[in-house]
Symmetry: D2
Subunit: 433 residues, 4 copies
């Protein structure tokens, strides 16, 4: 057997927007960049999801200033031999690895005014942690005394929508935008700015820019940006196929992520290479009754033992004491905050913990969803990712935990020098990805 | 060492409302029914959460007609030696067992007009499955070809609220009720009907009936009805203490439950006995920074291996195709439906699957919660609870799966004889527990 | 479904030798004491393997003086409906529990002159630990700072031999005894003293006493005393059937055991009740190609996570520095000693550790068995059974660990008052069980 | 952080004997080939353990004719900064990977006349399986319908012996050879033929050739060729240090191995690169009471779930029906044979199964080691490495399983054409490695 074929090579020194094997919209007309045989295993290189905008340094100014129109560059699309609409593409993730000469990644908290995140009302500033990879493990100089094995996976994978599926997306998301009364952006319509249609000709490029679905949300018909942390090495994913050849794309590799990916840029984002085996299951959508992707995790997930997690509980009563009706989002936000509060005992700043819960393999469960008015969610924090004992049975000892990287003018998550950051209003947050 | 002391005995032949060791409200004035030493392990008997309203038979009429004012009878409250407000009660669940001579339990789907559940818009009829226990395993004549080990746990445990905490609850839930514009009941205010204040005198009884918090929701300040499936044998729970003596109560034992307990009466509900060790951690609330309970699961949870689950994905686009903004509840409802659809391949009716997903140890995860507008949740269905192969790689073979129990006039979840159940309107659902 | 039928009741107050539902030989003529349906689940009560000779106290004199002709009283034999030679009996262990009013067990080290054990050359004295059970957990006043969940299982189960199989056993073990040149007893021939043939008539009793196989060893043809720690709750065992009705017997219940059960009386021995489901697989021996039992463990074993064990290595070089050729027994003895030495750091005496490694769920693996001249074995000690940190990364702090129970005249495993125990010669050890 | 430093590069095109960074003896005088900082992580390349003698083809003639004096070329030795005798070297295995352009390995059964193996009395011919690697998984055209994730690890690692330790080894192994009365080679004395002393000068080379310990056996004082399958990614190993600088060496990488590595060349042998972090623990041997290495496995082992193994039992009664006294080796041989017999049901030849049990992650446990005269061992075969159902509850269907590779003149493990292989006597087996 020859070495495995690499069907997409990326250049980390070159802007992603100039590389024809990449694209950043979902559209049936983006030209295929390669053909893969039914049953074949190939390697696909990917840039990180910001296309290289974030540097390995100790300032979060790059996170603060990230251009959110230049993200989510996916590798592909690829044609898989014999794939037809109504079939299912069985994608087995044989491996995911960072580039050997690029052994690091990052977790970011976006500034509330540029991206935001799950807890941006409380933590509005941009912050960052750089993670160094050594084999299966990662560590960060910005969050000391933590080391864990990567639950490495792609944040985004899926097949191209058909014109009909795409129209459905644009219609229903457009309706949501139309009806919006929140002071938040609630969905992202097609946007011509910095649309990248791969190797398309000008006419196609224009069409894709005008109609192409943004890559931020996952969507039920094809998966996409699901950010499922357990979709790791050895997993099998069953993807609906909507166009001839399937037109499969993949990107947004994560060295690790917690359930919820709460800080938005919350996984350990990295560039790297994914090895995938492809099989076509004829008529799979009907035979499996498949409306959305399903998957079976692989056998090599890091294992801590059930008793090696501390679980935090949260309910749909918000930080202002207001009771919400069965609001799982509120409950999970509260769960996250309980965990952040707990970690203060050991000297971690809230921003450090917020970063950590985003990227470490925390278990986020829906516990009870039927007992009005309180939804209850839980978050399990693995005890063994810390090199000291965080269990509640032991008295806590505060340590000097240094600091994560902040944007200029912010220290420990607090704005310095009075008014300099007065623009940190709580109403202008955008939530892109 | 002598045999472990039983501090509460229940009588399954007698109405729960007449047993002084039981109560069904949270209130600081409910008299303690016993004292437990700091460090002691005791056994506490519990009735099932309907107080015995549901029978071991093949009709769901009892579920249809359940009196929801006569539920959630808790055993207790118990005083723990030395416990004071601000301390933490460390509760270690040493064991939970059904009564030897009562080796069965039930899972119910409430009629939409009397209780309802997570999917009652689609499955409005009352249905039921009876589960037989043999050691660690359970099986049901109503859902054949399934057997699994119980992840046995209490649905409800917690310490009594202080008057201040109770006032907070009543205020915030009252405000939610006031502001409600949905055609659903959104919360349950205090109710004098069938309030049971244990061994209280008449004056106290009246006060408890008027002010006592209903037991349906879990609440952040003390836990309560959290319905956390992994709070099983060997788990340690750290509970905030709000009144002298802690006044601990427990009930609503579950032989097994899936994440979300989606059918509402969704666990395998049972009567039985729980063995608990109690320890007081002085000043624990401050030392641990504890606003809500935390817990550490035990080491004896059933283990299937990561690759022995099929995971289903759901997004916040509802069954009518409408896009919701980051609505985890909608996403989890869709996830559940994907799983129900999948199980049709093998001959299970939707009601059978709905019951099964409620009570089998399915893993409900929050996957992505930051990618507007779609929240993504997953549900992991253990492959090995079935005695045939449900994996997607194998062609499905429909089997005769019999039927779960239904209310009179309904068969296979469909109303018989035309108009007889025309009152099955979709708007009148109540959601109690 | 009615409560599960109990087919054998034992009386812990009465000598085992007087109870007709018990027996202590393997022989086809021991009369069946009950019939079980194909597919039925029943409960079977069992005495502990010493028949109650060991008391819940702080002296090991009872272990020192144990009568080894009065052990291994098995419950049964039971006829299973339809079972015939050549079939396989599928035995599913639904549960094992100690008696509610007898919540304790013991681990013993036999005196080298009466029973001995795996390390009796080094640890010749009798010692004992009493274990108290609270739900899934056990603790011992004789080995403090340890608590673990029971991997509860029967040490012995199997079907009766046919006359031919029995003859084979007696012949081959007799030949080993004949050829023996060691100064050890190498096998136990039939023995009339205290033979118990259940409810047999006098003639049968005499025949069984004369021919019946001793219960100490497991044997390939039927299993028997395998002492397999993972044969726990939820396990399925496939047993060869040699006589009509199968004549199944079970006994020697263990609350927990380590791989190897090194101290011989090394499990946590207990009296209790086992719940078993029986199924007959017709022609199973041929269809499965079955010469010895096979089994599939259950899903509820205590789980620690792979990284929560410290593994010790041992090789076939003995404590005197002598090189043995590929001797796995020597290697495992050395592995055990390495672990005992390690635990000294924390204040445990060698006898305490020897007891602990016998009964705690340590993992004993054959690592390398082909690299002449050294076999290599490993023993994995679970970190989380201790309530302090035993990991090698932390400086050890010696604690006062009290003492296990010893025979009179011995303290801390050392003989007191000079010559009193001079008979502790190293050559006279018997190894019974 | 820069990319991780590679401290040893190997050339797969060049004879191992000519590469100065390799050696194949344990001796304190072999010159160090590099220095590693205390705390540093480095990459070390390794050849496969035959130094490239085995090819990716369908004949086992290369296995048949392997030169066993040209094996076990280790990379190193390396000096670790500050390491002194009495310290412990903490070696954390961050990763092990095959070479990207060499994505295959092999499992061999040695001919009984040249190497042999654990079952060579029954399976005397040379055979081979080639394994192809795709990410975490491997498959073999020689053993179809099997795929599993690698439990990837080094077979050999350790620090150099001091002159005193080396003398001990040579003395005790020499005494075994002297005393040998078996018709087998029982140990391997120093051998000048093809001794490789790395970059040593001629005088040193001669000394190493004359005195150097062979690398086949693991040894208690330093570890060496332990072939411990769970010493995989993320593991921490604590190694005794006997010479200044530690002089650490590593080699014999395995993509996967079963407990016992029964066919001798039984792992999936491969060339590749190992990433290791080194730390020196001063005075560690005394502080930890360390006579032999200890280790803590990593968290990323493949996990199947306890109930996803079929366990086979074996006892110390050999295939001729002879009873042995507490012979674990005999018991484990019988356990292996039971498993091979079981796999016949599905069409696998015995040689295919023998190869598979050697390299797949089977669990080999010491069950009972105290019940005279029968030791009992178990072997757990993971169900989920097969793409069809091997569980005993299902009727077996024989499939065409093709064949593994054989030496010329042998088919299906049977000698062709009568006498051609009459030299396959059963007495001349050597056991090298």
């Amino acid at each position: 057997m020859p070495a495995i074929r690499t069907v997409c090579k990326v250049d980390l020194e070159k802007p992603a927007s100039e590389q024809p094997y990449l694209h950043n919209r979902w559209h049936p007309n983006i030209p295929s960049v390669g053909a893969i045989k039914d049953g074949e295993t190939v390697k696909i290189e990917c840039v990180d999801w910001t296309g290289g905008q974030i540097g390995n340094n100790d300032s979060a100014d790059d996170v603060r200033n990230v251009d959110l129109t230049k993200i989510h560059y996916l590798s592909g699309p690829f044609d898989v031999e014999g794939a037809m609409p109504g079939d299912v593409l069985l994608v087995e993730i044989m491996d995911v690895q960072p580039f050997q000469d690029h052994p690091w990644g990052f977790t970011g908290i976006f500034d509330r005014r540029n991206g935001g995140g799950f807890l941006d009302e409380i933590y509005p500033s941009a912050a960052k942690a750089i993670w160094d990879f050594e084999g299966v493990y990662c560590t960060s100089r910005h969050i000391p005394h933590v080391k864990f094995a990567g639950l490495i996976h792609p944040g985004i994978l899926g097949c191209a929508p058909s014109p009909e599926v795409l129209a459905t997306w644009n219609k229903r998301e457009g309706e949501l935008i139309q009806a919006n009364k929140l002071d938040r952006i609630v969905a992202l319509p097609p946007l011509t700015t910095n649309a990248h249609a791969g190797s398309a000709d000008e006419a196609t490029k224009a069409k894709v820019a005008e109609e192409g679905a943004r890559t931020v949300p996952g969507r039920p018909e094809h998966g996409g940006n699901c950010d499922i942390k357990n979709l790791s090495r050895g997993s099998k994913v069953y993807l609906p196929i909507h166009v001839p050849g399937a037109k499969f794309s993949v990107g947004d590799l994560h060295f690790s992520q917690g359930d919820g990916e709460i800080s938005f840029c919350g996984a350990i984002e990295m560039a790297g290479v994914i090895t995938i085996n492809f099989k076509v299951i004829k008529n799979g959508m009907t035979d499996l009754g498949l409306k959305s992707p399903i998957y079976i995790p692989g056998p090599v997930e890091p294992q801590f033992g059930p008793g090696r997690h501390i679980y935090f509980e949260g309910f749909s009563v918000d930080s202002h004491g207001k009771q919400h009706y069965m609001d799982v989002t509120t409950a999970y936000r509260q769960t996250s905050l309980r965990c952040i509060e707990y970690l203060r005992r050991f000297g971690y700043s809230d921003y450090q913990s917020y970063l950590l819960l985003s990227c470490a393999p925390v278990q986020g469960h829906i516990a009870g969803i039927v007992d009005i008015p309180n939804a209850c969610t839980t978050m399990g924090l693995p005890i063994d990712i810390f090199d000291f004992d965080i269990s509640p049975s032991t008295p806590a000892k505060k340590q000097d935990m240094g600091s994560c990287a902040f944007e200029t003018g912010v220290a420990d998550g607090k704005v310095e020098n009075g008014g300099e950051n007065s623009e940190h209003s709580f109403g202008g947050g955008l939530t892109y990805k």
